[in-house]
């Protein structure tokens, strides 16, 4: 997905020419994300789930909630882990086998966006301090690829967590045991929204599709929380940003993020 051949060079020229006129290949404004469709409870046997389409990128996230041992020195906190995987049916170029650096970065950026926003109140996910805590595992799988998986996976994970129900456990003879009839929502404090922007020449575009992705000089993913704060950021790609561009991207991420956040809230409401 990163090598640029002759066809890609031509495509890039065309995309650049359009951008000089303030236009994009698919007719969007520069700061306009693609349509977002969120379906929750796609995997009813999981504790929570969502199937998300961002344009033609499609991601399924399933949340499993189960007792676990706490990390050392973190006995007063539950565990949150978010992963991402490109299924080989999502694109002809995807290979099976252990994940490469691109996919590892994707998974870690999606995880950090949610983690650093403190979306889930992990202090409420303790069964018994230092002994047993609740683990929330949000696993994203990409089933169709059309660029910008950072945001597609982040939205799927966020929607899946919002839709999740967690059992209640207590220790019986040191074994975590479910207390029947005590299911509740996962304790959520804020709704993080990631917005990924690409830089092509001197233009900044929101939510690049696959054609734009391959032509980008650099990219930046900024996650904001419900209060409009910035809580995670990752720059990528083989070029840099000016100071002014970095500040401008921060502003775009707040603005675009607040619209996406409403979509995610609606998906949760529609689910209830």
């Amino acid at each position: 997905m990163t090598s640029v051949g002759v066809l890609d060079e031509l495509k890039k020229l065309q995309i650049l020419e359009l951008l000089e006129q303030g236009k994009r290949v698919d007719g969007r404004a520069l700061d306009e994300p693609r349509e977002l469709v969120v379906e929750t409870n796609a995997i009813p046997k999981a504790n929570g789930s969502a199937r998300v389409r961002l344009g033609d990128s499609e991601v399924i996230c399933g949340v499993k909630i189960q007792p676990d041992r706490p990390f050392p020195d973190m006995g007063d906190k539950g565990i949150f882990i978010c992963t991402a995987e490109l299924l080989p049916l999502s694109d002809p170029s995807v290979e099976t086998g252990p994940p490469g650096p691109d996919v590892i970065e994707l998974a870690r950026v999606v995880d950090r966006g949610i983690r650093e926003s403190h979306m889930i109140d992990l202090s409420q996910l303790v069964i018994e301090k230092d002994k047993s805590v609740v683990g929330v595992f949000a696993d994203n799988v990409v089933v169709d690829y059309d660029g910008n998986l950072f945001d597609a996976c982040a939205y799927a994970a966020t929607a899946a967590i919002l839709s999740s129900k967690t059992p209640k456990w207590e220790l019986k003879n040191d074994v975590p045991t479910i207390v029947e009839g005590k299911e509740s929502e996962v304790p959520v404090t804020t709704i993080p929204v990631s917005v990924t922007m690409g830089k092509i020449g001197r233009h900044i575009i929101v939510d690049p599709n696959a054609d734009e992705w391959v032509c980008m000089d650099a990219r930046i993913t900024i996650t904001t929380d419900s209060d409009g704060n910035i809580c995670a950021l990752q720059k990528g790609g083989s070029d840099g940003f000016s100071f002014d561009e970095v500040i401008k991207c921060g502003e775009i991420s707040v603005k675009v993020g607040s619209k996406i956040r409403e979509k995610l809230k609606q998906a949760k409401a529609g689910n209830q």
């Binding site: 189960q66 049916l89 059309d146």
Partner: protein
């Protein structure tokens, strides 16, 4: 096959099973051809609570080259379960079970696919189990056949698959997860109805020779039910059914 004690009534006095089905009745089945944008062909199946997505690429070049065959195309199949598809979150590394099922499904599809029509190339079948509920390999094989057809791969027949089994000393169609845990035998069958060939056959559990024959017959009948739904799914995609 654990033969564990259970309070579950597997078959009541009226011949009704624990999920309300008759002995020769499969679970609810929904098959859809197509659906994925990047794959050359795809299908989605819901078979009871199983939810499985299949994407097909090819015929396409083989890398490394020495893996290809100048006389024939090759079929490659990967059966893969998502971490959230089962009760206990699954480790992402491919298990030995997944590797074996991939091979069994590949060998069940090979008799149906005209591999000699595209020498030197490969057709890749990627099976993704989104939610598992007993009988995933039959559901996966049925969906993979449809996805191959959707990709325009030349085929001799569709492979339809359904399991038979033995529950409460009775031969039944399409063993579900509870029945498999508590039951006595499970026999997944893959079948090409037009060519009358069994291309997948496995058995776990004890059957007398008579039960063995009955199981194969029952399973083949289930395959014929699946076959009609496979053809309908392809018809609906290519000739429309007034809706999606």
């Amino acid at each position: 096959m654990g033969g564990r004690e259970s309070e579950l009534v597997l078959l009541d006095e009226n011949g009704i099973r624990c999920d309300g089905r008759k002995v020769d009745e499969p679970r609810r089945i929904m098959i859809k051809a197509g659906g994925l944008k990047n794959a050359d062909g795809s299908a989605y199946i819901e078979f009871g609570d199983n939810k499985i997505l299949v994407g097909v690429f090819g015929p396409r070049d083989v890398h490394p080259k020495h893996m290809s065959n100048t006389d024939t195309g090759i079929l490659r199949v990967r059966y893969h379960m998502e971490p959230f598809s089962v009760t206990e979150r699954k480790n992402p590394a491919p298990s030995r079970r997944e590797i074996e099922i991939s091979k069994v499904i590949k060998e069940a599809l090979e008799p149906a696919v005209m591999l000699d029509k595209f020498p030197r190339t490969a057709v890749d079948v990627f099976i993704e189990v989104l939610q598992a509920d007993g009988g995933t390999r039959c559901a996966a094989l049925s969906a993979a056949s449809v996805a191959l057809a959707d990709a325009g791969i030349p085929m001799r027949d569709l492979v339809a698959a359904c399991a038979a089994g033995k529950v409460a000393d009775t031969v039944v169609l399409d063993v579900n997860n509870e029945e498999d845990q508590a039951g006595q035998a499970d026999m997944p069958i893959g079948y090409m109805p037009n060519l009358e060939k069994i291309t997948l056959l496995q058995l776990d559990g004890v059957l007398t020779p008579e039960e063995y024959k009955k199981c194969v017959e029952t399973g083949i009948n289930g395959c014929k039910i699946v076959y009609d739904l496979q053809k309908k799914a392809l018809h609906d995609k290519y000739f429309g059914n007034g809706g999606d």
